[in-house]
C-alpha cells in the first residue's frame, strides 16, 4: 500500500524526471503538468527508486539454460551478430544473458499468451498455434537442431566452425532444415528476434552492455528532450553520450 513517506527524499520524488528534464526545464518546458485533478493521491505515490540493496558486482550466472543450451545460444548470437570493425558482437554485449533472463521471465513462460487448446495447425495468416511457451520452444528447438547436427556434422551447433554455423543458420532461415518437433521458421524467427532485442534493448535487461549498440548506430538514448532541438538539428548530426534507464535513476 502507498503511504505518505516523508523520509530521505523518496516520496513522489520527481528526482529522476527532473534530472532527465535538464535542458527542457531551462527552455520553459513543463516537466510534468501540475494537474490537480489528475490524482488526489498525488502526494502519496513513490517514484520507483533504485532497489534499496545494490546488487553486488559478481559474474552473471545463467538462470534458465543448462550448459548445452548456454553453449548453443552463445554461439547462435555470436553468429547472428559477430564482433567486427563496425561494432561489438552480441556475445560481448551480454545478449546470451539477456535471452536467458527473458526466457525465465513471465514473457518466456507465456504469461500473456493464450495457451488453451484445441491446437490445430492453421494458415500462416492465423499465426502462432503451438502449445509451447517461448521458453519451451527454444529448449525443444535446441534439442531438435543439435540432434540433426550430430548426424550431419558429428557435432552440436557450438562445436561447428564459424563457416558451418553460418551455413546452418542460413539453411534454417531458408527452411531447408526439417526439425522433428519445432517448426523451423518459428524457431529461427524467435532466436533472431530475441537476439535483436537483446542487442538493442535498454541495458537494464542484461544485453546491450555499455549501450554499445546505441553508440554504434547513433541513437542518443532514452533521456532525450528535443523540443528545442528538433528544428535546430534538421539534417544535422545529433549525438550525445547515450543515457539508459539506470543512468537516469
Amino acid at each position: 500500500m502507498s503511504k505518505p513517506d516523508d523520509t530521505n527524499g523518496k516520496t513522489v520524488s520527481r528526482r529522476g524526471l527532473l534530472k532527465l528534464v535538464g535542458a527542457g526545464a531551462a527552455t520553459g518546458v513543463l516537466p510534468l503538468a501540475a494537474s490537480a485533478a489528475e490524482d488526489s493521491m498525488q502526494g502519496m505515490h513513490h517514484a520507483a527508486p533504485k532497489p534499496a540493496t545494490p546488487a553486488e558486482d559478481l559474474p552473471p550466472v545463467y538462470e534458465f539454460f543448462n550448459g548445452d543450451e548456454a553453449a548453443f545460444i552463445e554461439s547462435v548470437v555470436d553468429t547472428f551478430i559477430p564482433k567486427d570493425d563496425v561494432g561489438p558482437g552480441a556475445l560481448e554485449l551480454g545478449v546470451a544473458i539477456f535471452i536467458d533472463r527473458q526466457l525465465n521471465s513471465g514473457y518466456g513462460r507465456g504469461d500473456r499468451m493464450y495457451l488453451q487448446g484445441p491446437f490445430i495447425e492453421g494458415t500462416p495468416e492465423q499465426g502462432y498455434q503451438l502449445r509451447m511457451t517461448p521458453a519451451e520452444l527454444i529448449r525443444a528447438g535446441i534439442i531438435d537442431l543439435n540432434a540433426y547436427l550430430r548426424i550431419k556434422y558429428k557435432s552440436t551447433f557450438d562445436g561447428l566452425s564459424a563457416q558451418d554455423r553460418i551455413a546452418v543458420l542460413t539453411q534454417l532461415e531458408s527452411r531447408e532444415i526439417e526439425l522433428p518437433t519445432v517448426p523451423k521458421e518459428v524457431f529461427f524467427n524467435l532466436l533472431y528476434d530475441l537476439t535483436m532485442q537483446g542487442y538493442f534493448a535498454d541495458p537494464l535487461y542484461g544485453g546491450n552492455k555499455g549501450k554499445a549498440s546505441w553508440k554504434m548506430i547513433g541513437f542518443p538514448g532514452i533521456g532525450g528532450m528535443y523540443a528545442d532541438k528538433i528544428e535546430a538539428y534538421r539534417n544535422r548530426k545529433y549525438m550525445t553520450d547515450p543515457m539508459s534507464i539506470q543512468d537516469l535513476l
Binding site: 513522489v12 520527481r14 529522476g16 524526471l17 518546458v29 513543463l30 516537466p31 510534468l32 503538468a33 501540475a34 494537474s35 485533478a37 489528475e38 490524482d39 488526489s40 493521491m41 505515490h45 517514484a47 520507483a48 547472428f80 551478430i81 559477430p82 567486427d84 563496425v86 561494432g87 504469461d111 500473456r112 499468451m113 493464450y114 495457451l115 488453451q116 484445441p118 492453421g122 494458415t123 495468416e125 492465423q126 499465426g127 502462432y128 498455434q129 543458420l169 533472431y192 535483436m196 532485442q197 538493442f200 534493448a201 535498454d202 546505441w214 548506430i217 541513437f219 532514452i222 533521456g223 532525450g224 528532450m225 528535443y226 523540443a227 528538433i230 539534417n235 544535422r236 545529433y238 534507464i245
Partner: protein, 589 residues
C-alpha cells in the same frame, strides 16, 4: 454464485476515452455511476514516470499496456470456409487495457472525419450512381452528419489540447491547413508541432506536385496548455517514446489524466478496476438490461444491478458482450441479415521507404506519436472513384515518431539481415532512411464480420469472439493507387532509393498494422441494417447504449479517436437531455 450488489443507476463498461468521457459528463446528473475496467488503475504518477517509461522492450515489445490474451482473445480466419483459430500472441492490432484504455498508448492523431466520411453511401451514389457499389459491399451512411457532431469534435479537441492548423474556418479555405477538411467553427486550441527534417522535405515535395500538405492534427501539446476543464497538459518533449508508451509529461492527451480524475471527484462515481464484465443480464423477455455480471481481481463473481448500461469497451469487447448477452440479433453473413457483428472493417497501411544520400540526418528519435505532415488530396472522396475503380481513399504522410532501435534499425534493400555486413548496413541507413506512408480506408463487406466462435472459449469459459476478415479488390486498388503517389513524393523529396513493393496477400493477423478496428455494433436509421439507432441506443434493448468505433459503418483513411470522443460527448448530452427524462423509451429523433 454471484454476490448480488446494491443497485446503481448507471453501469459503464470500459474506462478508455469513451467510458471516461461519459463518466465525467454524467456526474452532473447526481446519479450513482459505477464504471468497470478489466485492467488496473493507471495514473501518470506512478505508472508512467521517467525514466522507466522509456523502455522499448517493456512497452513496445512485451506490450505492458495491451490486452492480456491469456485471459481473453479472439479467433481469426480469412473467410467462412476456414476454422477460426485463436490469436495466441499479439500482432495486427493492440487493444488497450487499464484505466485510460488505448488512449494511454495511442499516438495522438486527432481527426475530424470529413462530411463524405459520415455519408459514404449517399455521397458516393449521388456522384457515381448505385452501380459503382460492389454487390458484397454493405456501404452505409452514418445516421448523423458532420454538422451534428461539429460542436462535439470541437469540445474533444479543446479537452485534448490538439495542436494543428485549420484549413477550413467556417467555410473559408486556409492555405497551410487541410483545405479538404469540413468547416470548423474555430481554430485548433494549440499551434502545430515543430516539423522534423523529413516533414519539411515532404511539404516542399507535395507542394511541388500540386498537393496540399498540412500538419497532422496532434493531441501532443505543442505548448503548455490548460483545458476548459482546468486540466493542465505539459508541452511535448519530442522524446520519441509516444506510441505504445504512457506520457510522463501529460503532453499526450489521455483519459487517465483528463476526464477520468474529474469523474473521480464525483462522490456518486465509483471505478472498479481489475474487474472483467462477463455479461449484461437481461430480463426474462430479453428486452431490458437488469444488471451486469463481473469478476473482480480475485475471480469472485458479482452481479451489479443497474438501470442503464453503457458499453464503452474496445470494438471487440463491445461486440462480444452484445453477442454473449444476446443484445440484438447476431449477423448472418449468408443471408446478410441480423446486425450484431455486421460491417467489421479495418485499415490498409501502405507506402514506401525512402533512402537518402549519405550526409542526411533525419534524427528519427526526435519526435512524437502524431508528429507528421499529411495530404488529403487522395483521401475521403477526393479521388475520382469512377476513373480509379475504387471507393474510398487514403491519407499520405511522413512523420518523425520514434528512433527506438529494436523497432527501427532499417537497412538498404539487398543488405544481409544478420552476420557479416549487417552492422555496416544498419549503421549506414539509420539516419538517412525515412518513409512516405498511406493509411487507407476500408469498406465493409458481407463476408467480413464478427460472431461467436463455436469451438474456443476464453479463460472465463465464454465463447470467444470470432473475426472473419480479408482484403477485397476495392482496397487493393486503393492501396496500389496510393503507393504510386507515395513513390512520386519520395522521389520529389530527393530520395536516392525508393523502396516500394506491390502488396496483394491475404490479411494476416501476425504483423502489427494498426489498432483502428471498426464496426460490429453500427448505428443507423434502419434496425434491419444497424444494431443501434442514431443515439447509439440498442434497437432491441433500450436501456443499453454502445459507444466507440464499433459504431462506425465502415472505416476512413484516417484515425478514429476524434469521432470516438465526439460520439461519447454527444451521447452524454443525449442521455442528460433526452434519455434520462424518459428512461427506457427509445430516444426520439
Amino acid at each position: 454464485m454471484a454476490t448480488k450488489l446494491k443497485p446503481v443507476d448507471i453501469a459503464i463498461v470500459g474506462m478508455g476515452w469513451a467510458g471516461g468521457i461519459i463518466a465525467k459528463e454524467l456526474a452532473s446528473t447526481g446519479l450513482k455511476i459505477v464504471a468497470f475496467e478489466r485492467g488496473g488503475p493507471r495514473a501518470t504518477n506512478p505508472d508512467f514516470m521517467s525514466p522507466q517509461v522509456h523502455d522499448e522492450l517493456r512497452y513496445s515489445r512485451r506490450h505492458e499496456l495491451i490486452q492480456n490474451l491469456r485471459k481473453e482473445t479472439l479467433t481469426f480466419r480469412n473467410d467462412p470456409s476456414q476454422q477460426g483459430l485463436p490469436m495466441r500472441q499479439l500482432g495486427s492490432f493492440l487493444p488497450g487495457e487499464g484505466v485510460g484504455g488505448a488512449g494511454t498508448h495511442w499516438s495522438g492523431l486527432h481527426w475530424r472525419w470529413t462530411e463524405w466520411e459520415h455519408k459514404m453511401y449517399s455521397g458516393t451514389v449521388a456522384k457515381y450512381g448505385k452501380a459503382i457499389v460492389p454487390q458484397d459491399m454493405n456501404l452505409q451512411d452514418w445516421p448523423i452528419g458532420y454538422h451534428d457532431l461539429e460542436p462535439y469534435y470541437d469540445k474533444f479537441e479543446r479537452v485534448c489540447g490538439t495542436s494543428g492548423k485549420a484549413g477550413n474556418l467556417q467555410g473559408q479555405k486556409i492555405d497551410g491547413g487541410n483545405i479538404f477538411e469540413a468547416p470548423r467553427a474555430r481554430e485548433f486550441p494549440n499551434p502545430p508541432l515543430t516539423q522534423a527534417h523529413n516533414m519539411v522535405l515532404f511539404e516542399k515535395a507535395a507542394r511541388n506536385l500540386g498537393y496540399h500538405p498540412f500538419p497532422v492534427p496532434a493531441s501532443n501539446a505543442s505548448r503548455p496548455y490548460v483545458n476548459p476543464d482546468g486540466v493542465a497538459l505539459g508541452q511535448c518533449h519530442y522524446c520519441g517514446f509516444c506510441t505504445a508508451f504512457g506520457c510522463e509529461a501529460n503532453a499526450k492527451a489521455s483519459a487517465h489524466f483528463t476526464v477520468i480524475p474529474l469523474a473521480y471527484k464525483n462522490p456518486n462515481f465509483e471505478a472498479r478496476t481489475n474487474s472483467y464484465v462477463m455479461k449484461v443480464n437481461l430480463d426474462s423477455r430479453g428486452k431490458r438490461a437488469v444488471s451486469v455480471t463481473y469478476l473482480d481481481a480475485g475471480g469472485r463473481e458479482f452481479e451489479q444491478p443497474a438501470d442503464l448500461v453503457i458499453l464503452a469497451a474496445y470494438v471487440f469487447g463491445n461486440v462480444h458482450l452484445m453477442l454473449h448477452s444476446k443484445i440484438g440479433k447476431p449477423y448472418d453473413f449468408k443471408r446478410n441479415t441480423g446486425v450484431v457483428g455486421r460491417n467489421y472493417a479495418y485499415q490498409s497501411m501502405g507506402g514506401v521507404g525512402a533512402l537518402f544520400s549519405k550526409d542526411t540526418y533525419f534524427n528519427p528519435f526526435m519526435g512524437s506519436g502524431a508528429l507528421g505532415t499529411w495530404i488529403d488530396d487522395f483521401n475521403s472522396d477526393n479521388p475520382d472513384f469512377g476513373k480509379l475503380g475504387f471507393i474510398g481513399g487514403g491519407g499520405i504522410s511522413t512523420g518523425s515518431n520514434s528512433g527506438a532501435p529494436i523497432g527501427r534499425h532499417p537497412a538498404a534493400p539487398g543488405s544481409p539481415r544478420w552476420g557479416a555486413g549487417w552492422k555496416k548496413a544498419i549503421v549506414e541507413s539509420y539516419h538517412r532512411m525515412t518513409g512516405v506512408g498511406s493509411q487507407g480506408s476500408v469498406m465493409s463487406y458481407r463476408q467480413n464480420f464478427l460472431d461467436l466462435d463455436p469451438t474456443y472459449t476464453d479463460s472465463f469459459g465464454r465463447p470467444m469472439l470470432r473475426l472473419t476478415f480479408d482484403w477485397q479488390e476495392n482496397e487493393f486498388r486503393q492501396l496500389e493507387h496510393a503507393r504510386g503517389i507515395c513513390e512520386n513524393i519520395a522521389r520529389e523529396m530527393g530520395a536516392e532509393q525508393v523502396l516500394s513493393r506491390r502488396e496483394r496477400g491475404r490479411y494476416s493477423i501476425v504483423p502489427y498494422q494498426t489498432t483502428h478496428n471498426t464496426g460490429g455494433a453500427i448505428f443507423g436509421d434502419d434496425p434491419r441494417t444497424s444494431a443501434l439507432n442514431k443515439h447509439l441506443q440498442s434497437w432491441d434493448v433500450s436501456n443499453v447504449f454502445v459507444v466507440g468505433s464499433s459504431a462506425f459503418p465502415q472505416n476512413a483513411g484516417r484515425n478514429p479517436t476524434g469521432p470516438v470522443g465526439a460520439l461519447a460527448y454527444r451521447l452524454a448530452d443525449t442521455l442528460k437531455d433526452q434519455y434520462l427524462k424518459r428512461p427506457e423509451a427509445m430516444v426520439a429523433v
